[in-house]
């Protein structure tokens, strides 16, 4: 009896190994089939994509991450959308909005467009979605973040909720004048308002549908309504690692859309992504990590662009007397060899940043010139001699000969390597400097930043809309994201002017913003910018018009096709 049990187990194992061997044969055949199919697909308008994560959240008013934003951008549409040149183009809104004299009231005319259930997209859908986004009950992270201080009444609703007072969602500055006319009232003129309307937080939602679905809304591809170039298909929720976009024939501009299908798979490892690309399993990889990029240097299939994300050292003036001293800050800002840092440590196409607003990010509406042409890339660059002079002066003012600082950073591989480098540079170039590196998980770093429990912090910032303000509002006195006790009246005043009196004068406004940036870096050395990151990915040469974005969603497939 027992003997038979044992042999049963043994034969079971044998059976499984035979099964595995059989699978091996099957895999071989499947591979061939794929290749044959691949030959037909040159004609078929279908591309295969990789993403590093699954889709976390398809409820547009609650999404906070680029993967959800990218998906929403392709299956839904707001008043406007961004094209491959990062220009604002028509979406649900038809033509240009009517703007009041003072720039605070926008009236949008909506086009005839349909949701995927056949109902028309109306102005009420926008009002509903925006009110839902600001509603404290929804607990949206981006709703208040994007609306407070911009849309009239938004900040008041948030403030009332925080004090547990009553609030009225109808006080939010968004109204449906009729089914096809949307009126938005702003707190103050917002020069980049149109580009803001391309951001998923401001997309419309169909009230009836959302309320019918309730808790179920947005949990899989059947519980979402679509009004974009594609509809989401075969998505089984946030744990699903495969999904696809299928062309939406009901889309108002369906004639422009060439692709029939975009399929997505999750693959987190960069080298594995490159391997999958090599076998033709995918047409476009996810963004590659810097260890993989050098293998493809000079390869025409490697597509790279500057991301408008800057990494800098924040210098917290709250706890450290040394960092309150402007000379010490100037010494730190000038003592790091950034050129060597981006080449030897990062080595992925990232560039040296001697600025606080990224390069290749925004252009002046009137002149078409990049914002960076005003100040260039020369605000307090690497200069050991100057650094040493400032260091001596600073130490003398403090009456000490040594400074010890904590350096707060993430616990990723890149962050640790960067910390090593910066520590070495500062300790070598500034005699008497002692840096203690503290590598912590991301959420802990943010918590310590919020509590201002750090001296130096390696942090990055990416934009939320196409305007220098998304970077420059950070450093306002008492600003929500300042968190290092930086304060300069002149800086505050210039930013205030850019938001009010100069709001409708693009040239003067950019000059004021540039002057503020100069004060921030050159006069005050409030932060020490290090580098601007670049994105690298592999794109099959048969893909035409691959479109990426700098803000919010990463890609658009509306204009993409297969050769």
């Amino acid at each position: 009896m027992k003997k038979s049990k044992f042999f049963l187990l043994l034969s079971l194992m044998l059976a499984i190994s035979t099964f595995l061997a059989a699978c091996g044969g099957g895999g071989d055949n499947a591979g061939k089939d794929d290749k044959e199919k691949g030959a037909d697909k040159t004609a078929a308008q279908e591309i295969k994509m990789l993403e590093a994560q699954a889709i976390p959240n398809m409820d547009s008013v609650k999404s906070t991450d680029t993967i959800s934003f990218t998906t929403l951008n392709n299956v839904n549409e707001g008043l406007y959308r961004l094209d491959g040149n990062q220009e604002v183009v028509e979406g649900m809104a038809e033509g240009e909005p009517e703007v009041s004299e003072d720039g605070t009231v926008y009236t949008f005319k909506l086009r005839d467009a349909k949701w995927s259930n056949g109902e028309p997209v109306t102005a009420h859908d926008f009002v509903y979605a925006w009110q839902r986004a600001i509603d404290p009950e929804t607990a949206s992270e981006y709703g208040p973040y994007m609306m407070d201080g911009k849309i009239k009444g938004a900040a008041e609703i948030t403030a009332a909720a925080a004090q547990k007072k009553e609030y009225d969602l109808n006080t939010l500055g968004v109204k449906a004048l009729d089914d096809k006319t949307l009126e938005v009232t702003l707190e103050r003129p917002v020069p980049y308002f149109k580009s803001l309307m391309a951001f998923p937080t401001f997309y419309p939602q169909n009230q009836k549908f959302v309320e019918e679905q309730g808790e179920n809304f947005g949990v899989n591809s059947d519980s979402i309504l679509y009004n974009g170039p594609f509809v989401l298909a075969d998505w089984d929720g946030s744990t699903d690692s495969e999904w696809s976009y299928v062309k939406n024939t009901e889309y108002w501009d369906a004639d422009t859309v060439k692709l029939e299908k975009v399929t997505w798979n999750v693959l987190k490892d960069s080298q594995a992504a490159a391997n999958a690309f090599e076998t033709g399993e995918v047409d476009i990889t996810s963004k590659l990590s810097s260890d993989v990029v050098p293998q493809y240097e000079g390869d025409p299939r490697l597509v790279k662009w500057l991301e408008p994300t800057i990494f800098w050292l924040k210098m917290n003036q709250k706890n450290s007397d040394a960092l309150k001293n402007v000379n010490i800050r100037k010494a730190i800002a000038q003592a790091i060899n950034k050129e060597d840092f981006v080449n030897s440590v990062l080595n992925n196409g990232s560039i040296v940043a001697n600025y606080a607003v990224p390069n290749e990010f925004v252009k002046n509406d009137e002149t078409g010139e990049d914002f960076r042409t005003i100040n260039g890339n020369e605000l307090l660059p690497y200069n050991v001699d100057e650094a040493k002079k400032a260091w001596e002066a600073g130490l003398a003012e403090l009456g000490t000969d040594s400074v010890e600082l904590r350096y707060l950073t993430d616990d990723t591989e890149t962050a640790k390597k960067s910390a090593e480098y910066v520590k070495n540079q500062l300790e070598t170039n500034l005699p008497g400097m002692k840096i203690n590196v503290e590598s912590v998980p991301f959420s802990v770093r943010i918590d310590r930043q919020n509590k201002q429990d750090y001296d130096l912090q390696m942090a990055g910032w990416g934009p939320d809309y196409l305007d220098p303000m998304t970077f420059q509002a950070l450093w306002l006195t008492g600003g929500g994201n300042n968190k290092m006790d930086y304060s300069n009246e002149k800086y505050d005043q210039l930013i205030e002017e850019a938001q009010t009196t100069l709001a409708q004068k693009p040239v003067e406004r950019y000059e004021a913003l540039a002057e503020a940036e100069r004060i921030l870096l050159e006069e005050d050395a409030a932060i020490a910018p290090l580098y601007q990151r670049s994105s690298n990915l592999l794109v099959n040469e048969k893909v035409e018009n691959f479109t990426y974005h700098l803000v919010g969603p990463e890609y658009s497939f509306k204009w993409t096709s297969v050769k």
Binding site: S17, L20, G27, A30, T158, G237, E242, A272
Partner: protein, 309 residues
Amino acid sequence: MAKYLTQRIIYMVVTLFLIASFTFFLMKIIPGTPFSNADKLSETQLSIMIDKYGLDDPVPVQYANYMMNLLKGDLGVSFQFNNVGVTDIIIKSLGPSATLGALAILFGTFFGIILGVVAALKQNTWVDYTSTFIAVLGKSIPSFVFAGLLQYYVAVKLGWFPVAFWRGPEYMVLPTIALAMFPLATASRFVRTEMIEVMESDYITLAKAKGASWFEIAFKHALRNALIPVITVLGPLVVSLMTGSLVIEKIFGIPGIGEQFVKSIQVNDYPVIMGTTLLFAGLFVAVILIVDLLYGVIDPRIRLAGGKK
């Protein structure tokens, strides 16, 4: 036997309760919030969010709430995703991990045992040395290195198997081999050592004297005794393999639970941390019980209930 089982199951429940409580309080010590954009939120907004999710209640109150829900079988809703229950996450992502882990264990132990038996029978020959060499490789080289090599040479260069993803049997082959190297090495070393010892014992000499065939001696008489220590080490290994290997999942694009667990801790997704910890702990105590019961099946001398009488 029934009495013994009941007793063990009561201990298991107590163990799980203690683990749940301990994890809950440890988890609350980690600084930070579960909100992915905490760096962008203003203080007012943060306070609304914290209030909304009851994160400002005293920790003992949160603990009591969690435990009450746990008793009802409600593991809560994830912070990272929109309206996705923890139970749902576990069910969906445990499948691929458990399948892969089970395959790796079966494949690994099967070949590990064969390798070990052969090595023991051909002690100090080239067969033995080769087997030792394979075992040393399997033990010392991390699975992600095997994974990378297999992916590059077998999938990209030779094109025998798909590079990655989880769509059918052929997609399981490479990750299984990569993950199986460790159990294979472990099993083969233990079996070899035990077999050598067992082969020298009196009852084997008796079997030989009685004229039993080589196959019968090795597999029927000797191996059974040699398997006892193997089962002891493999029990916990089964759990760790079946609950997902972070690196293997990453490299082969497998939607498993290994990543969920690690990520939940990084982003302070409290309900997912609790859910996955409880799952791992539950599987662990269950496997320990099964191993204890298996001893009795393999070797009647270690019948557990017998000792009680």
